[in-house]
């Protein structure tokens, strides 16, 4: 079991969901680990990478590589940013001087929920009121990182939480980064179907591992009117289990 971790919070959590970042760090800290937040972190580079702008992505990614000098796991509260660092950094820096460093970083990257279950084997004690919750496991967490089991098993540990399953639960919500901007009509159709499926569960809360999905799903639900709230899974887990 590691004693120290680096927390790479991601640009979206930094600006839009800071409480999710704090919660993620608090969950790890409560297990007795030291959590280091490298203050010079910015963004993993994924937005440019997925838009095809690899030079620009590499420039930003290169600026992250020196943030993790110790041999500690790097925990990321997002499946897609973790996927970028774990699976695409080695390709992005192939043939470049930083390649070895990029591979070393990639080897140490964990998506947060996967780290909590597979590394820390965390045990949660639910202190909250009964609640009906749906989980949208982000595509990157599910497929790229192979960590769909993590979110499900964490929620299952919460005694007063009833987890409900939406139809087509493994289907993408339609975010896809630049996709939502370049193909807005298809993206809209996908998020409409996703929100319909989530509403049909009558959950009062939808949680997810990725800020992008939350922005998409949460933004759509709010635009439609009344509906379930959305929250990053880290924030939800922390709120449910925090001793006050």
């Amino acid at each position: 079991m590691p004693r120290t971790v680096y927390f790479f919070a991601t640009c979206l959590v930094d600006m839009f969901y800071p409480n999710a970042g704090l919660a993620g760090m608090a969950l790890i800290k409560r297990e007795g680990l030291k959590v280091i937040y490298p203050r010079n972190q910015t963004c993993c580079g994924q937005p440019a990478y997925n838009a095809g702008y690899r030079d620009e992505a590499r420039k930003v990614a290169a600026a992250q590589l020196d943030l993790f000098p110790g041999n500690h796991p790097i925990v990321v509260p997002s499946g897609s940013c973790a996927g970028m660092m774990k699976h695409h950094y080695p390709d992005l820096f192939f043939g470049k001087p930083e390649h070895a460093k990029a591979v070393d970083v990639a080897d140490r990257v964990w998506e947060l929920t996967g780290f909590l279950t597979d590394v820390l084997n965390i045990k949660l004690k639910d202190l909250g009121e009964p609640l009906r919750v749906a989980l949208h496991t982000s595509c990157s967490t599910r497929r790229e990182m192979g960590m769909a089991h993590a979110g499900e098993s964490l929620l299952a540990q919460l005694d007063a939480v009833e987890v409900v399953e939406q139809t087509h639960k493994a289907e993408c919500c339609g975010f896809g980064g630049s996709f939502a901007v370049k193909q807005p009509e298809i993206s809209s159709a996908m998020v409409r179907d996703k929100t319909e499926a989530l509403r049909a569960t009558e959950a009062s809360l939808v949680v997810s591992q990725d800020s992008g999905c939350l922005m998409n799903i949460g933004g759509a639900i709010e635009h439609q009117g009344e509906g379930p709230k959305t929250q990053h899974i880290a924030e939800f887990l922390w709120e449910r289990t925090r001793e006050r």
Partner: protein
């Protein structure tokens, strides 16, 4: 492409009946596939095997094609090479002409769709009748396939019934599937007997034996390739495998992934024309091997994986974009994820590069591909090819998707996000002045509320909470 694709997307999304029909069809295909792969470990092992077989074949493609051609000549199959679809069409026409063919029947072949073979031959006065039921339906309707395995997938039973009623007014109206099939069968039987030639596709070419393998469910493939006195097969150069033993695992992956069948009703292994003493089979067999951009794809070590495809359509069946649009909206011969990597390479990024952008990179396609083509990775690669400017590589239309405003925006972003001090100031300012930022963000806010910037960014809060950076 841009305007064209956008228009067809809007049109497809406006068709609620089509979308519901597609969703039901895809759900059922997904379920059927799952049911025939009950053991996850076995599935993953088989996928790795399939990838290795196809990868091995591609790694020695030129040699295998030579060996295959030599075996074919020994077996009495005439092999023709076509670099372009025009060449392929001409070759087919010349063979038909020298055999005085007026009428022919066709088995299903996506390569013949690639060639536009039917139109080409019909313009020359040769009647081409599609004998696969799905192809027969869309030929009647004057449409193109919307799916590479189930070409008439977009049509409901009622639509097909109405189409038959309109085209064959003498036959009583029915929307019973068995009756409709019987109508088609009756018409086709007659045509098989009259046809001067049969044209088919090929699923696998075996280099070791010179065998052409053809997978089908209706028996029309066997009829097309055995009843008429002349058989012409058309296929892509990438379809070759090294040896006979490579075929069973690929066949198993193909039929399970495509339609959830452990095996198809028919599996044809064609090794040449009728031999002395045999009672059936064609007098003459020709094979046209089409390149049409495949050599260029082959030349790139990473993109070469595109050619591993065995055309099962599983990526299509699992694609959330295809499920929303259907196949016609893509405006290409091959729709869905495989089309979005194949077509831009075949036709050039300038014209079709947008297809590589029309994906969320959700990974559903790559997860099910029986030969493990990393489709999301290749989509990403093609996005790069579309905007890169270093002029290396083989992909046609490289750099032609680059837009000045977009590249400036990414340059600005990368300057900021690679300078931590500057970035910190920018993020803090954005949070401080968040109320002044626009709440309308183009199409994003047509169906969503704009995301709310936090009062304070995490980078400020961590300091308060006492998390250090060392």
């Amino acid at each position: 492409m841009s305007g064209e694709f956008h228009d067809s997307v809007v049109k497809a999304l406006g068709d609620d009946a089509l979308r519901q029909h597609l969703r039901r069809a895809m759900d059922s295909l997904i379920e059927k596939r799952l049911a025939v792969f009950p053991d996850q470990d076995a599935l993953q092992a088989l996928r790795r095997y399939g990838m290795a077989i196809r990868g091995n074949a591609l790694s020695k493609l030129p040699q295998l094609l030579e060996r295959f051609e030599a075996r074919c000549e020994e077996n009495g199959v005439h092999v023709h090479w076509a670099e372009t679809t025009d060449e392929a069409n001409k070759i087919v026409f010349e063979i038909l002409q020298s055999n005085d063919v007026k009428r022919l029947v066709k088995g299903k072949s996506m390569v013949s769709e690639e060639m536009g073979l039917n139109h080409f031959l019909e313009d020359k006065g040769i009647e081409c009748l599609e004998s696969d039921l799905g192809e027969f339906i869309i030929q009647l309707a004057g449409e193109t396939p919307s799916h590479i395995v189930m070409p008439a997938l977009h049509k409901s039973k009622q639509e097909i019934a109405e189409l038959f009623h309109e085209k064959f007014p003498d036959i009583p109206y029915s929307d019973d599937v068995d009756e409709l099939t019987a109508v088609a069968r009756g018409i086709l039987r007659e045509k098989f007997m009259q046809a001067d030639a049969g044209i088919s596709g090929v699923n696998f070419l075996i280099a070791e034996t010179g065998t052409l393998c053809l997978v089908e469910n209706e028996g029309n493939g066997r009829m097309s390739t055995t009843v008429p006195r002349l058989h012409i097969a058309v296929t892509g150069i990438e379809k070759v495998v090294e040896k006979l033993a490579d075929v069973p695992p690929l066949l198993s992956l193909l039929t399970r992934s495509a339609t959830g069948q452990p095996i198809t009703t028919y599996f044809n292994m064609i090794k040449g024309p009728r031999q002395p003493g045999e009672k059936d089979g064609p007098q003459e067999v020709h094979l046209v091997l089409l390149d049409n951009g495949r050599s260029r794809i082959f030349a790139d070590e990473e993109l070469q994986a595109t050619l591993r495809c065995i055309r099962c359509g599983a990526c299509i069946n699992h694609c959330p974009i295809y499920t929303r649009l259907g196949g016609h909206a893509y405006g290409t011969v091959y729709p869905g994820p495989i089309g979005s990597i194949l077509e831009p390479q075949k036709e050039g990024l300038e014209r079709l590069g947008e297809l590589a952008e029309a994906s969320t990179l959700c990974g559903a396609c790559g997860e099910v591909c029986p030969v493990r083509i990393p489709i999301p990775k290749l989509l990403n690669r093609l996005r790069w090819e579309g905007v890169r400017q270093d002029g290396t590589g083989e992909t046609s239309g490289q750099g032609r998707r680059r837009k000045h405003s977009e590249s400036l925006a990414w340059k600005g972003w990368s300057s900021l996000a690679s300078r931590p001090v500057l970035y910190r100031i920018a993020v803090k300012s954005a949070c401080r002045f968040r109320r002044l930022l626009p709440q309308q963000l183009g199409p994003w806010t047509h169906v969503r509320k704009a995301p709310e910037i936090a009062e304070k960014p995490l980078r400020e809060l961590v300091e308060v909470q006492g998390f250090t950076d060392e």
